[in-house]
């Protein structure tokens, strides 16, 4: 499948949304609301629960199952108050030594006048900054679309998993094509050029794990995700805080390809 076909696949309704993963992965769930500043953005669902006996905080971008829910959640494009709610839950997780699991599926952060007025850029910036210093393990799973800064705000984690057809991109292929070629219909070419697939991310070191999709056996698929999460969390939880944070620093420090003194630095997997 070409990159753009994968993206179209994950954008289709009918695939499990974040809520279904939450239901399978975590038990004894208590959902938590609000950013304590402005309101509650239901595009971001959060709460606490057990992952195989480990208390965790989960934070998920929920696109919505039916049209009503989709409208309610503005199609999974979080507003500033959604990102601030996510940050509040992460800081709470840090305080009580709970690992954080993020589930990501968004075209990008909400685009609108009120989002700009309430500091969409500042909200994302603060999340990224705070997540770099968060003294608890963090893992994110991209289950569909990882759209630009709006996805990054929940993906600056110790590990990133991606479903096999999931995509992660700095800009939508449509946006890229219309800027570069003034022609949004060339999105398929843009998607190839941008290299947005889970396999591209694995190769470039942006994602550690690619998860096979088997929605016919969704329970089994989630059982495998659970196993992977528990294994990775056990490794991360056995690290000292200093080591956890320095590993996270190095994870992001390595990104970049540039020339210096006639030598090209920065490997791409």
């Amino acid at each position: 499948m070409r990159a753009y076909d994968k993206l179209k696949t994950v954008r289709q309704s009918g695939r499990p949304t974040a809520a279904e993963y939450i239901e399978q992965l975590f038990t004894d769930r208590i959902s938590l609301s609000g950013d304590r500043r402005f309101g509650d953005d239901t595009a971001i669902q959060g709460g606490i629960g057990f992952l195989e006996g480990i208390p965790v905080t989960y934070i998920a971008i929920e696109k919505g199952k039916d049209l009503n829910e989709r409208i309610q959640n503005h199609f999974g494009c979080p507003k500033p108050e959604g990102y601030r709610k996510a940050l509040r839950l992460m800081k709470e997780a840090e305080k009580f030594h709970r690992p954080v699991i993020c589930i990501v599926d968004t075209q990008g952060a909400y685009c609108g006048a009120e989002a700009e007025e309430r500091g969409q850029g500042q909200a994302i910036a603060e999340n990224i900054l705070e997540m770099m210093g968060l003294e608890t393990p963090t893992i994110s799973i991209v289950i569909g679309e990882g759209g630009s800064g709006g996805a990054l705000a929940l993906c600056t984690t110790d590990y990133v998993y991606m479903l096999e057809n999931a995509c992660y991109s700095v800009i939508s292929p449509e946006g890229c094509a219309s800027i570069l070629w003034k022609d949004a219909s060339k999105a398929d070419e843009a998607a190839d050029a941008l290299q947005i697939t889970a396999q591209d991310m694995k190769r470039m070191g942006v994602a550690e794990t690619v998860i096979s999709e088997d929605f016919k056996h969704f329970k089994n698929m989630c059982r495998d995700i659970k196993k992977q999460l528990v294994g990775d969390l056990q490794g991360l939880m056995s690290c000292s805080t200093t080591k956890l944070l320095s590993q996270r620093y190095d994870r992001f420090r390595k990104y970049g390809v540039y020339e210096e003194g006639g030598v090209v630095h920065g490997a791409l997997g």
Binding site: E126, G149, R248, Y255, Y258, G266
Partner: protein, 264 residues
């Protein structure tokens, strides 16, 4: 070209077409008062103490590692037009007697979009400042992430933020100065991470572009939408400082942070 040394440089105002001498103008049009785009080295000349600037990582150059259509040509043209290797100039400096580190983004270079080189240079300047316990002054300008570098350009937001976080966690000061235009991924990362956020008058600062917001929501936006003044009104900018007063303001802020540091 010795002759050019005696030539008086003239600037063209793109807003009102007025022509004026560059000297002592701060690149502010004397007729309409608008702020013109300014080369980073001119910015440095205006704000740092004489002969104090020492450039860091000046040799870094971008690589078209995705073989992205048209990227190599764009880079070449930008390098030719600006005489700079990429879209940011970084270094150590002294402002009003206080040592610090500075970075200045260059909106003439592919809209100061952020790719690996911009991300790496700014990360290094924060790491340098952390090692030497120096404040960082950052002049931001950007059209956003450099899409010709794909996901790696998005990762620069995270990379720089990690370095900002480390610098901050050790009690160091970071002042960001928002200049026209600061948008997209730079707004959603280090532009908004300053302890103190200053802005130039009338600069455009936002996350999503004005036109995108208009097209998506069909909303009527106020004239001052996403201006420095709009951001200050909504609580996201500390102070709007005019160009001719910037050096003095920065010097004062730096002196106000030279207090005794609490021992760990």
């Amino acid at each position: 070209m010795l002759f050019s040394l005696f030539e008086k440089k003239v600037l063209d105002c793109p807003y009102c077409k007025h022509q004026f001498k560059e000297k002592n103008s701060f690149y502010i049009c004397p007729q309409c008062g608008k702020y013109l785009k300014m080369p980073p080295r001119e910015r440095i000349r205006q704000v740092v103490d004489k002969d104090s600037f020492q450039e860091l990582s000046g040799e870094l150059k971008s690589v078209d590692f995705l073989n992205f259509p048209g990227y190599s040509e764009k880079l070449e043209k930008a390098q030719e037009d600006t005489g700079e290797a990429d879209a940011v100039v970084c270094g150590g400096a002294v402002i009003g007697g206080s040592p610090c580190a500075v970075f200045v983004m260059d909106s003439r270079f592919i809209m100061a979009s952020m790719g690996s080189v911009v991300g790496e240079k700014i990360t290094r300047v924060f790491e340098y400042a952390t090692r030497h316990r120096l404040p960082v002054i950052g002049f931001t300008a950007s059209g956003g992430a450099r899409m010709q570098e794909g996901i790696i350009s998005l990762m620069q937001m995270a990379k720089v933020s990690a370095a900002v976080q480390k610098h901050a966690s050790e009690g160091n000061l970071y002042i960001s100065v928002l200049t026209n235009p600061t948008t997209g991924g730079v707004t959603a990362s280090f532009a908004m991470q300053g302890d103190i956020i200053l802005a130039e008058p009338g600069a455009t600062v936002g996350f999503a572009g004005r036109r995108v917001v208009e097209q998506t929501t069909r909303a009527q936006l106020p004239d001052n939408f996403q201006s420095s003044e709009f951001l200050q009104e909504h609580g996201f900018v500390d102070k709007i400082v005019s160009r001719d007063e910037l050096k003095a303001s920065l010097g004062t802020i730096l002196r106000l942070h030279n207090g005794v540091r609490r021992q760990a």
